[in-house]
């Protein structure tokens, strides 16, 4: 582009009256090697703006993608525990008052019987001595 035009564009540029295309033309001019000596001072401006365009973010954006899953897991865990507890509770044998009394009575009776049989056995052992009488009697009355 002709120098006169560049100067005109530059003037308009500083007044904020250039279009994007004109600004691109200015930028291209200052990037080229044939910048007029009296315009050299502006080179860093346009080069600087181009350089600023090259900057990029280095960090990855992190979004909370586990949050939705978390409350779902929570619900799932609660339900599982609930079922577990319910299963445990409902499979336990349910006894009425009457049944429990009956079992207690049964246990007591069993104990009493045991005691009785124990004593009976003891008595039976003592009976063994009676045999001795028979043996001795046989010796005497031969």
């Amino acid at each position: 582009m002709e120098l006169v035009n560049i100067e005109k564009l530059l003037e308009a540029y500083f007044e904020g009256q250039t279009s994007l295309e004109e600004e691109a033309a200015l930028c291209a001019y200052f990037k080229s090697r044939e910048v007029a000596p009296h315009l050299q001072a502006y080179t860093p401006l346009f080069k600087g703006l181009s350089a600023a365009r090259q900057e990029v973010s280095q960090r990855k954006v992190e979004l909370p993608h586990y949050r939705v899953a978390f409350w779902r897991y929570g619900i799932a865990a609660t339900v599982a525990i609930g079922i577990g507890i319910a299963g445990f509770v409902f499979t336990q044998p349910k006894l009425t008052q009457e049944e429990r009394e009956a079992i207690a009575a049964f246990e007591k009776t069993k104990e009493a019987m045991k005691f009785l049989s124990q004593n009976f056995n003891d008595g039976a052992e003592e009976l063994a001595i009676i045999n001795q009488f028979t043996i001795t009697k046989n010796k005497i009355l031969k």
């Binding site: 540029y13 001072a41 401006l45 600087g48 600023a52 973010s57 979004l63």
Partner: protein, 168 residues
């Protein structure tokens, strides 16, 4: 809208958001944090994003507002003073080594008022149309042109001053 659709809509302009955030907040780390924050907010309001005819413009407005808020709270916490002194000592060093002038342009841009910095960034770096910038900044084209002209002229003055100083 699932996450892949969402990312497909909003990730293409991530770097633009980052550059704008960095232009306002200066620090790279803070700019990255800002981008992350803006994406979280967008994700939370993802139902609404479809209703906007231009998600990019919406995201840019959001980034601008978020960064200006950050800047304000930083000033309120007096962090700016610490930051400024630090920057100053560093920029003196930088000026000595910045022969290419490009770094100098960045430094000059940092001295601009926020609104001018934002306009300059959106127009001269991201190359948006005036109508788009007006929509993003909730302003009108004339006001944008005026702000932009001021920003460009300030940069020019500083640049010419340094250039002449360097030559003579």
């Amino acid at each position: 809208m699932n996450q892949n659709e969402f990312l497909g809509t909003v990730l293409p302009f991530k770097d633009k958001l980052y550059r704008l955030a960095k232009r306002i907040l200066v620090s790279k780390d803070e700019a990255e944090d800002a981008v992350q924050e803006v994406y979280l907010k967008l994700w939370k309001g993802k139902g609404k994003i479809k209703n906007y005819k231009n998600p990019e413009a919406f995201a840019i407005t959001m980034t601008k507002n978020y960064c200006l808020d950050r800047l304000k709270s930083k000033q309120a916490n007096n962090l700016k003073i610490v930051h400024n002194t630090f920057q100053h000592s560093q920029s003196v060093e930088r000026e000595v080594e910045a022969n290419d002038g490009v770094t100098m342009v960045f430094k000059i841009m940092e001295t601009l008022p926020e609104q001018q910095r934002i306009v300059l960034q959106l127009r001269d770096v991201e190359q948006f149309e005036f109508s788009e910038i007006a929509e993003m900044l909730d302003s009108n084209e004339t006001a944008i042109r005026v702000n932009l002209s001021r920003a460009r002229k300030t940069v020019r003055e500083a640049l010419l001053k340094k250039y002449n100083y360097g030559v003579s």
